[in-house]
Subunit: 117 residues, 2 copies
DNA sequence: CAGTATCCGACATGATACTG
DNA sequence: CAGTATCATGTCGGATACTG
């Protein structure tokens, strides 16, 4: 997804954060898990229109990035719980920064400056 | 790109911020313009591998979101300068939050907790 | 319950050629 | 210089059906 040149010249740490948002669903999942752990189908219902395939993919990718944790319980039928890691919880700071920014500039109308030349 | 239900139940303000990142290039463009205004081909060179088409699209979308400003100067040949708006500059806060977070958790290894059941 | 497997269309991105 | 136009391609995400 990212070329080497990008990783080198720009900060790799930014790329890490961008990976989190690879999917358009990542944020909604994080928003859900921020309040409480959830199970697969709970998330599915909470998110509304996501397919099992997409949800699985997002969860796997967030798990690999260590934003969330996946725990399997040997009940019958099996229970799987997703929850935030410390890293994930700390990401909420970014999450809220985005939210705050969006809120703040909701009705911004650009001011045109006079010509320079 | 976003369903109505999402816009309603979750904050629309978050969606606004997410639109900024619609393209994988948006962040690199913002990073470039954060330091100084640039012209089209300057950006192109700075970003490395972007096609004129993709760059145009990103710029138009950021312009529409009022993150950046596009100014045309009637030189020969024509000069076009892109620069950040106030809203755009304020977005850097999010940008840096992401960067800081990525840096902070760079080498995080998840801690496994004991089973619960 | 919590997925996997498969098919498919829409869209993002790139390469290339051309223009005022 | 700063794009537009066109074509090609790969990936994303949804729908559907099936499974331990």
């Amino acid at each position: 997804m990212y070329t080497d040149s990008q990783k080198e010249e720009c900060s790799a740490s930014l790329g890490e954060a961008m990976q989190v948002m690879g999917s358009k669903w990542s944020f909604w999942v994080i928003g859900e898990l921020a309040t409480a752990p959830r199970r697969f189908n709970e998330l599915r219902r909470g998110l509304g229109n996501i397919s099992t395939k997409s949800l699985t993919e997002v969860l796997r990718s967030l798990e690999q990035a260590r934003i969330i944790r996946r725990q399997v319980f040997a009940t019958v039928p099996v229970t799987v719980e997703y929850s935030m890691t410390d890293k994930g919880m700390d990401f909420l700071q970014v999450y809220y920064a985005m939210q705050g920014w969006g809120e703040k500039w909701k009705d911004y109308d650009i001011q045109v400056q006079g010509d320079k030349i």
